[in-house]
Amino acid sequence: MTTLTALCATFATAVLLIIIGYIAYQGISSLSIEFITDTPKPVGEGGGIGNAIAGSAMMTALASLIGLPIGIAAGVYLAEFGKNWFGNIVRFVADTLIGVPSIIIGIFIYTAIVMPMGRQSGLAGGLALAIIMIPIVTRTTEEMINLVPHSMREGALALGAPQWRVSWNIVLPAAASGIATGAMLSIARITGETAPLLFTALNSRFYNFFYDQPMSSLTVQIYNFATGPFEVEHAMAWAATLLLVGLILFINIVVRFLTRKKY
């Protein structure tokens, strides 16, 4: 029995390592400074993904700016005051949203924002990502706050602290690192999303720092390069994938490090 499970564990780990290894092998040769700063050159002459990196960064930033405050606040509400029918509904909706395929979110934003605006934009892309982010952050925030022991709250209440103070300066600080973890993981998640950006942000071959225009992103750019006809672009796709995977891996490692057991 032990051998069987050990074998499965090895297999699972091996798959991941093989994928990462293969990506690295394929993509490492195309990495360079120019790669990171240039824009793609027309007709398969190579170039870089600088604009894609910038675009991803901008849309992730927008999504976080909207999604994190709303998500954390909702999580706090659910944990502290949401033990009623209303809270149950919110919880159910959040859980459902998490399970919705992200392309549907993309289509929703397309209908709601892109069509009235008349064009795709970074704004729409950011909003789509925000909608994906919010339920994740809400639920992890709620879980983290629920992990704060009831005894700690009681200790504060017994000293004559009103409920809001207990939430604000005892519970939240205690749950802070957990909430931060949830936030970072949700950022890592949306960084890897492709489908919602397809209809909303589209893509672009140029640097674009305005939210009301189509914006490039790492994920969509990879898709385009990989499915295009040019070999050079295929190579760039591998390199970009390597970069993306590296970034997500990095975020995960940082989160693990910061939340290691200190005592």
């Binding site: 700690m152 200790g155 209440l157 602290a161 600080p173 205690a174």
Partner: protein, 252 residues
């Protein structure tokens, strides 16, 4: 002299389950009263009605009166926050905040705005730690985390934290049950010392502890008050057979 706390006709329900039946009791000023009884007899529930900590349980219902210094704490419009400042509580498992030792003790002072200046705050923290017999052990590491203390020290820290807001009554819910014998002894010594200034009610499942530290003892069973007498009488010649059976270990 009027009692510090005067309870009458107290009934308590968790939803439909009745947990306390017609409790009536007088707790005198500056004495230690111990509540003893088998597990589940309602002694902790009763303790928590004295500072309305049961309010945090949605299905809890209380009827009857609890008068502290002549005022019914269950009257509508009672300032529960002020009540909890006057009636402090120490819990079974010590629950320091994830802050430094100094900040733990200072917390209650800060939120109730008791202090007049930074120096005043420091002085109050020091006094509380001295009164809890912890000052000498922590005076050189006030800024370190409270979790670095041993179990017994953490419990004394929680006592210091409660003392810092200058209560008049201290409720203790099995304060030593998670501690080793030496730490337990220190807590007991502290209780005897504290009763000079405070009225203390202590719930304990260890009746020898009740015998050692209390002036009066109340014995509960299945939510009812069976006997309430001076401790000397309770442990040498109780009125009720049930009490005698419990104290001699024949059940429970």
């Amino acid at each position: 002299m009027e009692s510090k706390i005067s309870i009458s006709d107290l009934n308590f329900f968790y939803g439909k389950e009745q947990a306390l039946f017609d409790i009536a009791l007088e707790i005198p000023h500056r004495e230690v009263v111990a509540f003893i009884g088998p597990s589940g007899c309602g002694k902790s529930t009763f303790l928590r009605t004295l500072n309305r900590m049961n309010d945090t349980i949605p299905i809890a219902k209380v009827s009857g009166t609890v008068m502290i210094d002549g005022e019914n704490i269950y009257a509508p419009g009672t300032d529960v926050v002020a009540l909890r400042r006057k009636v402090g509580m120490v819990f079974q498992k010590s629950n320091p905040f994830p802050k430094s030792i100094f900040e733990n003790v200072a917390y209650g002072i800060r939120i109730n705005n008791i202090h007049s200046s930074k120096t005043d705050l420091s002085n109050r923290v020091e006094k509380a730690l001295r009164d809890a017999a912890l000052w000498d052990e922590v005076k050189d590491r006030l800024t370190t985390s409270a979790f670095g203390l041993s179990g017994g020290q953490q419990q004394r820290l929680c006592i210091a934290r409660a003392l810092a807001v200058q209560p008049e009554v201290i409720l203790m819910d099995e304060p030593a049950s998670a501690l080793d014998p030496i730490a337990t002894q220190k807590i007991e010594e502290l209780v005897v010392e504290l009763k000079r200034q405070y009225t203390i009610v202590i719930v304990t499942h260890n009746m020898q502890q009740a015998a050692r530290v209390s002036d009066r003892t109340a014995f509960f069973m299945l939510g009812k008050l069976i006997e309430y007498n001076p401790t000397q009488k309770m442990f040498q010649n109780p009125d009720e057979k049930l009490t005698e059976d419990y104290i001699t270990g024949r059940f429970g």
